[in-house]
């Protein structure tokens, strides 16, 4: 995974890109949907076109926005609660923690060392929520910091290392978490 500096550099480069001549044909929308929903992967030619053409990237972002809106609508219709709250007394011990206050998903935090400097997060979606996920999910806090993002596997599970500053347990005492479509 490229580091943030590399990604920022790539973003700046792509932002200043002009449309190549001659103009390339639009990407196939059905193919893009398959890729965004995880049913397929981009072919080498499609990846090349996305790198070369700002219009192709706009087409992809637009479709991603549509799929995200579709997911929001599905979740509202199913009355899915997306908030996760943790309330507990402060503790100095470093131990795994499982939060199951939301019926649609649970979050576990596993310490990777005895000092609590490194953690891994494990998200498990309920069977009902799994059916309503189209592109993926992201778990964010009240400050819009992303704790976890990606497409859960067929078991509805998604893991990732803790990458924000400080302890996730301390953050949980000060903020709520929200699950949103990716």
């Amino acid at each position: 995974m490229p580091n943030k500096h590399t990604l920022d550099l790539l973003a700046v480069t792509l932002a200043g890109q002009a449309e190549p001549a001659p103009l390339e044909s639009e990407l196939d929308e059905t193919r893009l949907r398959e890729v965004l929903t995880g049913r397929s992967v981009l072919a080498a030619s499609e990846r090349k076109q996305l790198l070369r053409s700002p219009a192709a990237r706009r087409q992809l972002y637009f479709l991603a926005d549509i799929l995200r809106a579709e997911t929001y609508a599905r979740w509202r219709q199913a009355a899915i609660d997306t908030e996760l709250l943790y309330q507990a007394a402060a503790s100095s011990s470093v131990e795994p923690l499982q939060i199951t206050s939301n019926p649609y998903y649970s979050l576990s935090l596993f310490p990777l060392d005895s000092e609590g400097r490194a953690w891994t997060l494990y998200l498990k979606l309920s069977a009902q929520l799994r059916q309503q996920v189209i592109t993926g999910v992201r778990l964010i806090d009240d400050e819009e910091q992303v704790w976890l993002a990606g497409k859960p596997d067929s078991d509805g599970e998604l893991s990732g290392d803790w990458h924000l500053p400080g302890s996730p347990i301390e953050r949980l005492r000060q903020t709520k978490l929200h699950l949103k479509p990716l």
């Binding site: 943790y86 011990s93 795994p96 939060i99 494990y122 498990k124 596997d153 893991s159 990732g160």
Partner: protein
């Protein structure tokens, strides 16, 4: 209602596995088990490898008692950028050792083998390069575990390996059960009660049968 469970300590195990290539080296898989956390979770941050990890652990755990199956684990690699399935044996061993909590007598274990259905260990490709990695990076006492299928073809190379490295050729994961069973002999409390009730039900059934027979023939 806020539902949050604080769970206790963890056990971890690390097993090395050789990587063939232009610069052979020893990679390491670490499994951290959380004995009081029981969601049947297999957590791994390397998402493109998760399906393979779950498949391997599905094979390796296929004969286990439910009491150990649902212990949560986190799987990590010192270097996640590698190809192939030859890490399967190392992963399976690290998983067993971490969950059964066995302090193995071996300070260092290096393993290579493709783990398949029914816990069979199949040959690996690039065995000669993998032996090179072990010869270059493993000078201390260690146990090297590898497939029997590779032993038959690479016996000469194996004899040239450092004498301080013990060798163990296997065809089944079960051949290595002594590595983790030393601790499992200390039964979990739930297993004690299961044995007790099985014994009690069997004893009662036996007494009832004998009584019925005596009544019938008296």
């Amino acid at each position: 209602m806020n539902a949050a469970f604080i769970m206790t300590a963890s056990h971890q195990a690390e097993i090395e596995f050789p990587i063939a290539g232009a610069l052979p080296y020893l990679n390491r898989v670490q499994v951290i088990a959380y004995p009081s956390s029981r969601q049947h979770a297999i957590s791994c941050s390397y998402r493109d490898r998760l399906a393979s990890i779950k498949e391997i652990l599905g094979h390796s755990r296929s004969d286990e008692d439910p009491t150990t199956l649902d212990i949560d684990v986190v799987v990590r690699f010192s270097d996640p950028r590698f190809d192939g399935q030859s890490y399967g044996l190392a992963l399976a061993l690290a998983d067993k050792l971490a969950r059964f909590g066995n302090p193995t007598p071996y300070h260092r274990i290096v393993a290579t083998g493709v783990l398949t259905h029914e816990r069979v260990i199949c040959r690996v490709e690039g065995f000669a390069e993998k032996l090179k990695a072990i010869a270059e990076h493993c000078n201390s006492e260690a146990l090297f575990i590898f497939p029997k299928e590779n032993q038959e073809k690479e016996s000469i190379l194996l004899t040239e390996l450092n004498i301080s490295i013990s060798q163990c050729a296997v065809s089944q994961l079960d051949d290595l059960c002594e590595l983790w069973q030393a601790c499992s002999e200390q039964l979990l409390p739930s297993q004690y009660w299961r044995l007790f009730w099985r014994g009690a039900i069997f004893g009662f059934g036996l007494v009832l049968s004998i009584t019925c027979v005596l009544i019938l023939f008296s």
